[in-house]
């Protein structure tokens, strides 16, 4: 029997497992595939404040500091680069959007200020000079998301976590004061359980007869071949639908939440023609030098979103000993710190910053959620 079973080996689950093991718990981490191969390994790795929801800025700021210091606490490199971030406005409407959003994020604590096109061009010489203005944040940067699995695996091993990859959990039931987890071969028991299944949190919560719709976004990304330096910042546009950065080895990753297609029932997801072309056009408009590159790969990954697009992090109501963590918008950035706070609660301490209990999404007056009903899907922003 384990002190803690973590179900889902993405960045949330891996971080909670790591911190809990370092806190003295005997931890097993269960993952249906390989560690950090879904959203946590396929996202753009952006560690930005300018695409983070205002309510999450305080967490993201703490987490950004953690990412920059990853070699110290994680012990392994995920290729973090800290740099300036710019969000661009090319139209009057975007200027308005930019000032509104920069204002709200700045009020939440992000060091974001509006700059003229001349200042923006000084900060990022590669930018399209036709910009009208930009918002600048000195705290920005990126990690190499595909290294997440490798870095965490090494850290988890060092911390003594039992890693079980390719081990899908198919059920969870309370048995006295402990929990039994159903696995393909034989089950395991644990005193406490954390569900960190990303978009699969919805089916996981159903094991406990809790119906909480989690919308599945299919984000798509593209990468160019290695090229000479074309930019030095993390770049976005006011709407948030572009994220652009050049990695030290020369490739440029193009993202921003353009939607591919797919669903979590089959687990399949793929890019679309329109999103690939649209996203590439936006990227070339922002950094004209990208015109001379070649696109070598596009890919997609799931992102989970609750009805209010805010996280569910905390105890599962009615099931003491079961915890949940996920649906954190821009979750990759904030994950290590949010996991740190949740682990404090699991270890019986007061979390440094408030969690995001899921109770708010389970109001008893609401009709029972049916994940397959189209009406239900339209409720989400």
């Amino acid at each position: 029997m384990y002190d803690l079973a973590v179900v889902g080996g993405g960045i949330h689950g891996a971080s909670v497992a790591l911190f809990a093991a370092r806190g003295g718990m005997d931890v097993v981490l269960l993952e249906a595939g390989a560690l950090a191969r879904q959203a946590s390994g396929t996202n753009a790795g952006t560690l930005t404040m300018q695409m983070t929801r205002a309510a999450l800025i305080p967490y993201a700021l703490k987490a950004h500091e953690m990412w920059v210091n990853a070699p110290q606490w994680l012990g392994h490199d995920v290729g973090v680069v800290a740099c300036d971030g710019l969000s661009l406005a090319f139209t009057e409407a975007e200027e308005k959007l930019l000032s509104d959003r920069a204002g709200a994020r700045s009020a939440a604590g992000a060091p974001i200020n509006l700059v003229t096109s001349a200042e923006a061009t000084r900060i990022e010489p590669g930018v399209n000079p036709t910009i009208r203005m930009a918002s600048h944040c000195a705290i920005d940067g990126y990690a190499n998301a595909y290294l997440t699995g490798l870095a965490y695996r090494r850290a988890l091993k060092d911390a003594g976590v039992t890693i079980r990859e390719y081990t899908p959990v198919t059920g969870l039931a309370a048995s006295g004061t402990r929990f039994e987890l159903r696995l393909p071969d034989q089950g395991i028991t644990a005193a406490q359980v954390v569900l960190t299944g990303g978009v699969w949190l919805e089916p996981m919560l159903r094991w406990l007869d809790i119906r909480l719709p989690i919308k599945t976004l299919v984000n798509q990304l593209s990468v160019t071949e290695r090229t000479g330096p074309v930019m030095r910042t993390v770049l976005g546009i006011a709407s948030g639908l572009l994220s652009l950065k050049q990695f030290p080895h020369g490739t440029v990753v193009i993202g921003g939440g353009w939607q591919g297609e797919g669903n979590r029932e089959t687990g399949h997801h793929r890019t679309t023609h329109a999103s690939t072309v649209g996203n590439a056009r936006l990227a070339v408009h922002a950094i004209p030098a990208l015109r001379n590159t070649r696109l070598v790969r596009s890919w997609t990954g799931f992102e989970a979103e609750t009805a209010d697009a805010l996280p569910i992090v905390g105890p599962v109501p009615g099931h003491p000993g079961v915890w949940v963590s996920g649906s954190v918008h821009s979750g990759y950035t904030s994950a290590p710190y949010i996991a740190h706070c949740l682990t404090q609660a699991i270890l019986g301490r007061a979390p440094e910053m408030p969690l995001f209990p899921m109770d708010r999404l389970l109001a008893p007056s609401l009709p029972e959620a049916d994940p397959f009903s189209p009406e239900q899907q339209r409720v989400h922003p």
Binding site: G149, L150, Y166, S239, L241, V296, W299
Partner: protein, 470 residues
């Protein structure tokens, strides 16, 4: 411009060209897409230079190519030349680019005739400038009637070895040596299969005797273990597979190939079922005797679905074209049966020939464990055998993990050159563990020029979706 057709055919080589012609003559509207500027594919390649065009010396591949191009020109097939397919979605939406920008073509049926790519068993120094593929040599000779290098060594295995050496001799380029992995016995065994197509056997025998008469040193049961040089090739070191004896041969150019494998990226993107098959180049896409894949409406012809060679591919193309026309309702079962009989009979005869040829070309899978630690496996990202071993020490069990841990397969070729070799190393360590030894297929299936992808556009016309929540 029309973008909807009854049938799309990708690849205008022997398979795709014939498939398009059969379907069009049955009355289907057909689009034939190829990245080359003219139909013909690799083997029936059209000449590019004036010198190559003038050269009409009894090359049956050239004659067959010219015939295919003439028949296409006289047909109703809509050819999209210099058009590169980069993605395919079910029920079939094909994304492609050309100098006109990006566009999507649509049809309820699709024939994939994407051909093969060459494999090379990595050895130390194989990324040195001056080392080329055998198939690359044939492509250059067909289109340019020329070959790079002065002191050339020709190495590898299979009929291409002899073909390239003999044609180099025709160009006045005397190979310094031929290095053949195969035994004399391997060739003798193949002769029985080759005899099923006497004209091909005769051509092969003529090449062999020409090389023997010219006194070109021929090293049997030998392999290249190292290419020396930095910015240019200086020499190659060869090793006798029997005795282990090595020797160094000075050369400025090495042509080397270890067989072919299917260019099956689109097959995999569309989810067509496959079977591991070393003889056919690694994997074969499952198809019935009418070339239908496991995906409804998707037909497979030619080497892209498993390597057979140009002539069987042409027959498979005809069958696939007739099969698509029949499923479309343009041919009744009786008409189909009558028309498909000829190609099917020829295909059966050619398959014995193909098997003999493929056996000689079969990739030396058992040689991968002997690769030295410093040998580069992924040449785009400089990932060595030792890097792969280290990633496996770190727990990489499948090919996607190997990619994440090392960047293997993340460069311009997207794992086409290294994927199967890395998989062989992985399988050697984790024999029988059943983990996934292929990379998840991704678009674009070939690198896409950004200018072609974005075309002409106005910023205001980019369909930017609703902003993310604040």
């Amino acid at each position: 411009m029309t973008t909807a057709f009854d049938l799309l055919v990708i690849g205008a080589g022997p398979a795709g060209g014939n498939a398009a012609l059969e379907a069009a003559s049955a009355g289907l509207t057909v689009a034939l897409i190829d990245e080359g500027t003219a139909a013909g594919g690799q083997v029936w390649r059209a000449p590019r230079t004036a010198q190559a065009t003038r050269n009409r010396t009894q090359d049956p591949d050239r004659t067959r190519g010219d015939d295919l191009r003439a028949r296409l020109a006289a047909s109703s097939v809509r050819v999209f030349p210099a058009t590169q397919v980069w993605d395919a979605r079910p029920q079939f939406h094909i994304s492609c680019v050309s100098d006109d920008g990006a566009q999507e073509l649509h049809a309820p049926r699709l024939i994939l005739a994407t051909g093969a790519i060459e494999r090379v068993l990595p050895f130390e120094g194989w990324t040195t400038p001056g080392v080329f593929g055998l198939a690359a040599a044939t492509a250059v000779m067909k289109s340019e009637k020329a070959l790079f290098g002065r002191d050339i060594v020709i190495a590898g295995q299979g009929p291409l070895l002899i073909a390239v050496a003999a044609k180099a001799l025709d160009l006045g380029l005397r190979p310094r040596a031929i290095i053949d992995r195969s035994h004399r016995g391997d060739w003798l065994r193949a002769t029985a299969g080759f005899a099923r197509v006497p004209s091909m056997l005769a051509t092969g025998a003529r090449w062999m005797s020409r090389l023997a008469l010219a006194g070109i040193p021929y090293h049997r049961r030998s392999e290249v273990i190292r290419a020396n040089g930095d910015t240019t090739l200086r020499s190659v070191v060869i090793r006798d597979l029997g005795t282990g004896a090595t020797r160094e041969i000075e050369a400025d150019t090495l042509y080397i190939g270890n067989g072919l494998t299917s260019a099956d990226e689109l097959h995999r993107l569309l989810g067509a079922a496959q079977t591991a098959d070393l003889l056919r180049g690694g994997y074969r896409t499952t198809r019935d005797d009418r070339c239908r894949s496991s995906v409804p409406g998707l037909y497979i012809a030619g080497d892209g679905g498993g390597v057979y060679g140009a002539l069987p591919s042409a027959m498979q193309g005809k069958i696939a074209g007739l099969s698509a026309a029949c499923d479309h309702g343009a041919l009744c079962e009786t008409q189909f049966a009558a028309q498909v009989r000829g190609p099917q009979r020829k295909l059966r005869r050619l398959e014995t020939f193909a098997d003999a040829s493929c056996r000689l070309m079969q990739f030396p899978q058992d040689a991968t464990p002997r690769m030295s630690p410093q040998t580069i496996v992924c040449r785009c990202e400089d990932v060595s055998r030792a890097d792969i071993e280290k990633a496996m020490d770190d727990g990489a069990r499948d090919l996607n993990q190997l990619k994440h841990f090392t960047r293997l397969g993340m460069g311009p070729c997207q794992g086409r050159m290294c994927g199967l070799t890395a998989a062989a190393i992985l399988s050697h360590r984790h024999a029988g563990s059943g983990t996934d030894t292929r990379l998840t297929p991704r678009s674009p299936v070939r690198p896409v020029e950004m200018t072609q992808l974005i075309g002409e556009f106005d910023y205001d016309d980019i369909p930017v979706p609703k902003p993310a929540p604040l």
